[in-house]
């Protein structure tokens, strides 16, 4: 069974008196452990599709099925729990919490969960992640004391801290220079291998697309090509 499957998904945004048909019937599946890129020009529907996979938006029509669960059937509370337990998020604008330092930002999702694991083990795990993303010396710094690349690395660690099955990254490199952007994608790839986490990232940068082992090309709200291998 596929980790994620989209069946004839449509998304129509109301826009004043008219509507924007952003996604016009998209069907694809994503396998566990893949490093997936959703590529396409601006306005092609990348963000919209990632939002629906990430359960932060709902399809107007069609279904998004994650690990066999049809997300349509869940209440907000359950969806929030699903996001917490199964999904990790990396944002274009990093979206760290300004009042928290690096360590606390990474720890944050753990504190939202129901299960309380041992404090020492938690600290070890966060420290391990900080080492992985190379931020151990920045542990007590606040986000505004970090560079863009560093911030995005904090975000990667934060996305992984709950050991999610899937990490979604909407244009994670768009606010970074190309060198730093490549580093971030490399790092995500490394995590993909280390933890066997499925990564899905969107981009319109062609050089980055090549690192992915499953590329879905979108155009005008439709899948233009879908190649795995």
């Amino acid at each position: 069974m596929a980790l994620i499957s989209l069946n004839e998904v449509h998304k129509i945004y109301p826009l004043g008196k008219t509507e924007v048909h952003a996604v016009k019937g998209v069907t694809f599946t994503i396998e566990a452990g893949d490093f997936v890129s959703i590529a396409g020009p601006s306005g092609s529907g990348k963000t919209t599709i990632l939002n629906m996979i990430g359960c932060i938006d709902t399809p107007t029509e069609g279904e998004v099925i994650i690990r066999g669960t049809n997300t349509k059937e869940l209440k907000d509370k359950e969806i929030t729990m699903l996001r917490h337990d199964v999904l990790g998020f990396i944002f274009q604008n990093f979206n760290l919490i300004p009042v928290l330092n690096v360590y606390e930002n990474i720890e944050f999702p753990l504190l939202l969960g129901k299960t309380r694991e041992d404090k020492n083990r938690r600290r070890e795990w966060i420290t391990h992640l900080m080492e992985d993303v190379g931020l151990i010396e920045w542990k007590t710094h606040k986000p505004n004391e970090l560079s863009g690349g560093q911030r995005q690395r904090v975000a990667i660690a934060r996305a992984l801290v709950t050991k999610p099955a899937i990490v979604l990254a909407d244009e994670p490199t768009a606010n970074l220079d190309s060198k730093t952007g490549e580093n971030i994608i490399e790092m995500m790839k490394k995590m993909n291998k280390e933890f066997d986490t499925t990564f899905i990232f969107s981009t319109h940068d062609k050089t980055i697309v090549d690192i992915a082992d499953h590329v879905i090309h979108l155009k005008d709200g439709l899948v233009e090509s879908n190649s795995r291998g």
Binding site: G54, I56, D76, R83, N93, V99, L111, L112
Partner: protein
């Protein structure tokens, strides 16, 4: 939950100026209301104490007797009836003061004279009175002289007398005859608890009674000083019920009562002779209490409390509007952040709770600051010593303004404040909790 509280707490420090401003507004409101409440509560107690010493007790028994001439005089004639009526309530009574009272009399020293009111008291019983009066010249020891008189400083200054001087007093007997007596000034006192417009002197009840034409051992008023001031109305009722068994009660014959309380407080200047409406036999008793006498004062304090409550509500409303607007702003500022934490997995109710806690912390911090300032204010205000002859005498206790901070009152204020805070922040908090995650993440802020 701890995490939510921690975040809320840190959020306050994000916009320090704004938080301090809001906190100050809350602090100001709390300061004002606690100060005012402390003042009125203190005033009430001060007035109670001052009235108690002024009136010479908590429960007052008056008597009226119709003379053969048809004239009504203030006098307790049937002393055994009263004594018998007192025995069931003996446990409640701390001190019994019997008094006589001259009408407005003229006191003369050399070529100077002035008018005053003289109470005849039994010095051995009046421990409370001695405690209230501050001796400026002479001493209470001189009061063993049966002709001794204690004068307030104001009168002594007018007459330019000193302790030890002899003065002459011209007064009317209870039957309206003129009489003259000579007194020795035993002590000159200031009475911080007294109305400054009532110039009262104190003399020995035996001697004054003699001058007033009372029978030996006779008196006009009996004042009861109770062990528990809060029992005064109960005790008064019991006493009335006892007296009613064997004697007439003024309270039962309203046609010639015409507001005893008023008469009693105004009667200081008049000695209390009125024309008979309907003659009766024996002593007609009347029992009044400190509460009756203080009714207008209590009314004034109630009004003061209402004014301060209104002020508090106005200040609170203004502050709460400020709070509401602040959290609307916070909602806009943090929209994307809320989207982020919701995406990461924070539940709606926790988003709402962050807002609630943040606002509550702000209000609590403000309240704490206001409370501390109010306590300091009370300590400072209470430390100011007023002049002994200050016109504010009745409002002062031992020449100080008394403030009383009531713990339940303060708690009530804080509870009201916190409830209002929750109300004010409710809408922004709810809107924050209901933000659509995708929309929130898309905003540019």
């Amino acid at each position: 939950m701890m995490n939510i509280i921690k975040i809320a707490f840190r959020n306050i420090t994000r916009q320090k100026k704004r938080s301090i401003l809001l906190g100050s507004a809350v602090a100001f409101g709390v300061l004002i209301i606690i100060l005012l409440n402390g003042f009125t509560a203190g005033l009430k107690e001060t007035m109670k104490e001052n009235f108690t010493s002024l009136m010479g007790g908590h429960v007052y028994v008056n008597g009226k007797v119709v003379l053969p001439s048809g004239k009504i005089v203030n006098m307790i004639g049937d002393r055994d009836i009263l004594d018998k009526a007192l025995s069931p309530i003996a446990d409640e009574i701390a001190e019994v003061h019997i008094r006589a009272q001259s009408g407005r009399s003229e006191i003369i020293f050399g070529s100077k004279s002035t008018s005053l009111l003289i109470y005849g008291v039994n010095w051995n019983d009046e421990k409370l009175l001695k405690k209230t009066l501050t001796v400026l010249d002479g001493s209470f020891k001189a009061l063993s002289d049966p002709k001794a008189i204690v004068l307030p400083k104001k009168i002594a200054d007018k007459l330019q007398v000193r302790a030890g001087d002899s003065v002459l007093v011209r007064l009317d007997t209870v039957t309206g005859q003129r009489n003259v007596g000579d007194f020795t000034v035993g002590a000159i006192t200031s009475d911080p608890g007294s109305f400054s417009f009532i110039s009262a002197g104190y003399a020995n009840i035996t001697y004054l009674g003699e001058l007033l034409g009372l029978k030996p051992g006779g008196y006009q008023y009996m004042n009861l000083y109770l062990k528990d001031i809060n029992r005064m109305d109960v005790v008064a009722k019991k006493l009335r019920d006892e007296l009613r068994k064997t004697a007439l009660l003024e309270e039962d014959t309203p046609e010639d009562t015409n507001n005893e309380t008023h008469q009693r407080s105004m009667g200081f200047m008049m000695g209390g002779s009125t024309t008979a409406v309907k003659p009766w036999k024996g002593t007609k008793f009347s029992v009044t209490t400190l509460n009756d006498v203080m009714a207008p004062v209590l009314q004034m304090i109630r009004i003061l409390n209402m004014v301060s409550l209104t002020l508090f509500i106005i200040l609170l409303t203004i502050t709460m509007v400020g709070l509401l607007n602040t959290f609307r702003m916070v909602l806009i500022e943090r929209t994307r952040e809320i989207g982020t934490i919701r995406a990461i997995g924070m539940q709606r109710k926790d988003v709402r709770n962050i807002f609630f806690f943040e606002a509550l912390f702000l209000s609590l911090a403000g309240a704490a600051a206001g409370l501390v300032l109010a306590l300091i204010g009370m300590a400072v205000g209470g430390a100011v010593t007023f002049s002994a002859n200050s016109n504010m005498g009745i409002f002062l206790l031992n020449r100080h303004i008394q403030f009383i901070a009531s713990v339940p009152g303060i708690l009530l204020i804080i509870v009201i404040l916190l409830l209002m805070t929750l109300v004010a922040v409710y809408l922004p908090a709810r809107r924050a909790a209901r933000l659509k995650v995708a929309d929130a993440l898309r905003t540019q802020y």
